[in-house]
């Protein structure tokens, strides 16, 4: 086997487990060989891209070997006229963005730390950012995928045309699967044009009820923001950023119309200049990566008010906490450091239980060992867990790909 291999060190630890071996394949074929060879010895195997979501999921039951995808960073095919791109999984989103900018195009997938986050990692972790409000999540952008299965066989799904219903949707199966079904080696995305203009309008210090009103107002006004984020650094108060993107005329009209609607409601807002806007979105990105505790919450978009007391109770036990709420999606993150792990655990468990009762969820994206042990990363397994369990068995019969990391111990 030609892939580079070395002994693992402390720096390679994933959720506390130090792999015996670390592989850094330079080609997709080398990656395939690693998987085939480790299958022969039934070694447990983890995958890592840029490591931005390395804390996601439960610690693996065992980690014999770790495969780093950083060497798989080629742009395989870029067809600007067809607005599609195929890239290897270790390509960072920032590098991809550079390539696409040359033709004034983009992949509107904007999780924090674009310079480190890789394409494969973003798919496996279902990473997203503010633009999900308009462009959907990675599942809505991914149109084709090539994977290496647990036994070392390569398989493809989807294709390189946007519209395609031939065969089962293997690309969607891989979205959010956290490396438990196979290694993503290349991915094909549909692209969007870079907007001619973008403008961010900021509304300061709103209550949860006012955030809800603002979302309703945008919708009633038929405005189409590409991002809509409420950020709370102080208890129960949110700064709401609304970003419009597109052709100049449309963006200008929408920003002005939004300001007018806000004015009428007696809720002033300010249009940020380019520098301030950039700074605000950076603040958002920083908030998402901040602290040793990060919990993702999912609920119906209008339920923020209902759950806020529970979320605030969590924040009481965090230091420098931030609540990021994607107001039109019903998704959010609580991030911060903890002063009292036991109390934070209890509050998190309490919030989770309330969210789950309303068919929502609370999952730990990062947390100290103690909290993980007390409340678990994933919460109650979803209703269709039996199907997920069988999927894992079919795709990884040796139970060796990131074993135990996923929902319900898969």
């Amino acid at each position: 086997m030609s892939s580079e291999r070395r002994a693992g060190t402390d720096a390679d630890a994933v959720l506390g487990a130090i792999p015996r071996w670390v592989y850094s394949p330079k080609t997709t074929e080398e990656a395939r060989e690693v998987i085939e060879a480790t299958a022969a010895e039934t070694l447990s195997l983890g995958f890592i891209g840029g490591g931005t979501d390395v804390q996601l999921g439960a610690p693996m039951r065992q980690l014999d070997a770790l495969l780093q995808t950083g060497g798989l960073s080629r742009v395989v095919e870029y067809a600007p006229a067809d607005m599609i791109v195929t890239v290897e999984a270790g390509t960072t989103l920032a590098k991809l963005s550079e390539t696409l900018q040359q033709h004034r195009q983009r992949l509107p997938l904007d999780p924090p730390a674009l310079d480190r986050a890789t394409v494969g990692g973003a798919i496996a972790a279902n990473s997203f950012g503010p633009r999900r409000a308009r462009f959907g999540s990675v599942r809505d952008l991914l149109i084709g995928i090539s994977i290496v299965r647990a036994d070392g066989t390569r398989a493809r799904g989807g294709g390189k045309v946007v519209k395609n219903v031939a065969g089962f949707d293997i690309p969607k199966l891989m979205c959010g699967s956290l490396g438990t079904l196979g290694l993503i080696v290349t991915a094909t995305f549909r692209l969007h044009p870079l907007p001619e203009m973008e403008k961010t309008v900021l509304v300061r210090s709103r209550t949860a009820a006012q955030v809800r009103g603002l979302v309703a107002r945008l919708k009633a006004g038929q405005l189409e923001p590409t991002s809509l984020v409420a950020l709370s650094a102080a208890a129960a108060r949110f700064d709401v950023a609304v970003r419009f993107e597109g052709f100049g005329a449309g963006v200008t009209q929408q920003a002005a119309r939004f300001a007018e609607l806000q004015q009428r409601e007696g809720e002033p807002c300010e249009q940020l200049g380019d520098v301030d806007a950039q700074a605000w979105w950076k603040k958002h990105d920083d908030a998402r990566t901040k602290g040793a505790i990060r919990a993702k919450i999912a609920a119906l978009p209008n339920a923020l008010e209902t759950f806020l007391p529970k979320l605030e109770a969590v924040r009481e036990h965090l230091v420098d906490s931030i609540l990021v709420w994607y107001a039109s999606l019903g998704l959010g993150f609580i991030c911060g450091a903890s002063s009292d792990l036991a109390a934070a655990s209890r509050a998190l468990a309490d919030a989770r239980s309330a969210l789950e009762k309303a068919n929502g969820s609370l999952t730990l994206q990062a947390a100290p060992q103690a909290i993980r042990e007390w409340i678990g990363e994933w919460g109650t397994p979803p209703p269709a867990f039996s199907v997920m369990h069988r999927l894992k068995e079919r795709f990884d019969p040796q139970q060796r790909l990131n074993p135990g990391r996923f929902v319900g111990g898969l």
């Binding site: 607005m83 919708k219 979803p382 139970q399």
Partner: protein
């Protein structure tokens, strides 16, 4: 294609009738023949029995009865599918969901709605119209096709260029599996922890389970829509115009192309006063007023630069709808100028449109047939309508052969054998053109995880039958299994 009728045993029919009521359990020859095909009428097979349940519980009971009798099950919506997805298999029980047509829940603020599978696609938007909301995917058959069928086929439509397909608009589903268990996949709240099961279920063509409730995403209507109809000397200029519009950073809501023969047929069927030209484009842009004024003007200028003969803009909504009616009636219109036709659904990269259309024309001449092209140009989803007369000996075979050649051409050009109609029975033989044995095996694993007994819609999608035996290699039971928390099966 017609095979031997295989009846369902009397005792099983009695059991089924006791669940859904005798009126909704069809076993008489005349009644069964109504269900012998879907919209792809060249494939026919009389089912063993047809039942029309009214509730999830009735579906569960029916699935259990069929399982005990070891009968295959073919789910069916409105039967408008164009790939033989609802084509019965010998001796099967067809479970038709047309009686389950209630709208169960509407949540405008959170933008979702829960409906039964038999609800017609357009009825969702109609129900929401007064509130200013709608459901985006718009297959041409939307006034009759059911949302359950849309989920099975991952249906598209003209406006999926900007808005995406069924899979982008279905948030969740309640599904009856082959063992009669009921599971909820996804739901109105995003990002259910675990695998994206609703993502893989949509478009699985009735092979993974039967959907008995669907949670759809609904959208606020855009502020404005601008439409233009432009004519061109040939499909070359029309194709170039589409490419230039996209290259200018415009994402139209829809761009449809029709060639000369399609225009002739549409005119004859609808009486629209369209000119006799080589090609026409029908385009929508939608969004905030200032945005669409800008993009519509730019797109018109591009069309003019590319040699458009005429550019018409509808003066009012009625005229706009008439233009779209012309486009959406194209398949039926072609039916009036030809005894028979086959419609294909291949997809090509947008930049290949002109080349591929020329190659299709060459293949068509070679075959001594006529092809009308009417298609979703923005996303390269072709719909060549191959005209033939079944009464002329050999013509049907030539038409089928031409259809196959066109699909292979699409795959060679970097595209797909189907953009929205599904693989079904029709295109299963062509799956191997697009996917390797290993690719198909990965898909088969997915199938086996949902439906290990191959109960639902067997013989569809895959070119050769696949069994769900254990995979070769050492099997390691998961700790969950050892602890008894989860079993195999």
């Amino acid at each position: 294609m017609r095979s031997e009728f295989v009846p369902v045993a009397h005792a099983v029919l009695t059991e089924l009738a006791s669940v859904v009521g005798p009126k909704n359990c069809i076993s008489d020859p005349a009644g069964l023949r109504t269900y012998e095909c879907d919209g792809l009428t060249s494939f026919r097979m009389v089912p063993g029995a047809v039942i029309l349940p009214a509730t999830t519980e009735e579906v569960v009971e029916a699935v259990r009865i069929a399982r005990r009798a070891n009968l295959p099950i073919v789910p069916r919506g409105s039967g408008t599918g164009l790939s033989g997805g609802a084509l019965p298999v010998p001796g099967c029980v067809v479970i038709g969901l047309s009686r389950m047509r209630s709208i169960l829940e509407i949540d405008l603020e959170n933008a979702w709605m829960r409906v039964q599978p038999g609800v017609a696609n357009l009825d969702i938007s109609k129900r929401l119209a007064s509130a200013g909301y709608y459901y985006a995917p718009d297959p041409s058959s939307q006034s009759v096709c059911s949302i359950g069928g849309n989920v099975a086929e991952n249906s598209g439509g003209a406006h999926c260029l900007k808005y995406g397909f069924t899979v982008n608009h279905v948030l969740g589903a309640r599904v009856v599996l082959g063992d009669g268990s009921v599971v909820d996949l996804g739901g109105p709240v995003l990002d259910t922890p675990g695998y994206d099961l609703i993502g893989v279920f949509v478009g699985s063509e009735g092979t993974l389970g039967i959907v008995t409730e669907v949670v759809v995403r609904i959208l606020r209507k855009p502020e404005a829509t601008r439409t233009f109809f432009a004519t061109f000397p040939s499909t070359d200029e029309a194709g170039q115009t589409v490419s230039d519009i996209i290259a200018a950073g415009i994402v139209p809501a829809a761009v449809e192309m029709m060639d000369r023969l399609a225009i002739v047929a549409i005119k004859a069927a609808t009486g629209l006063d369209w000119p006799d030209v080589g090609a026409a484009l029908l385009m929508d842009v939608d969004g905030p007023v200032a945005e669409v004024e800008h993009t519509a003007a730019q797109a018109s200028a591009i069309a003019a630069r590319r040699g458009a003969l005429e550019i018409r803009r509808p003066t009012d909504e009625a005229e706009r709808l008439l233009m779209w009616k012309g486009r959406k009636s194209a398949f039926a219109a072609v039916g009036r100028i030809s005894h028979n036709y086959i419609v294909q659904d291949g997809v090509i990269p947008r930049s290949e449109i002109a080349n591929v259309l020329r190659e299709i024309a060459r293949l068509t001449t070679e075959a001594g047939l006529r092809v009308a092209n009417v298609f979703h140009a923005g996303d390269g989803n072709l719909h060549p309508l191959i005209l033939y007369d079944a009464n002329v000996p050999g013509e049907e075979q030539r038409a089928e052969h031409l259809g196959g050649e066109i699909l292979k051409l699409c795959v060679r050009s970097g595209g797909s054998i189907t953009g929205e109609h599904g693989v079904g029975a029709d295109k299963a033989p062509y799956m191997a053109e697009m996917f390797s044995e290993a690719d198909l095996q990965a898909m088969a694993e997915l199938r086996c995880a949902f439906d290990a007994e191959n109960r639902f819609n067997p013989s569809k999608v895959f070119p050769t039958p696949r069994l769900c035996g254990d995979r070769p290699g050492k099997y390691v039971p998961s700790p969950l299994e050892l602890s008894g928390e989860a079993g195999r099966g």
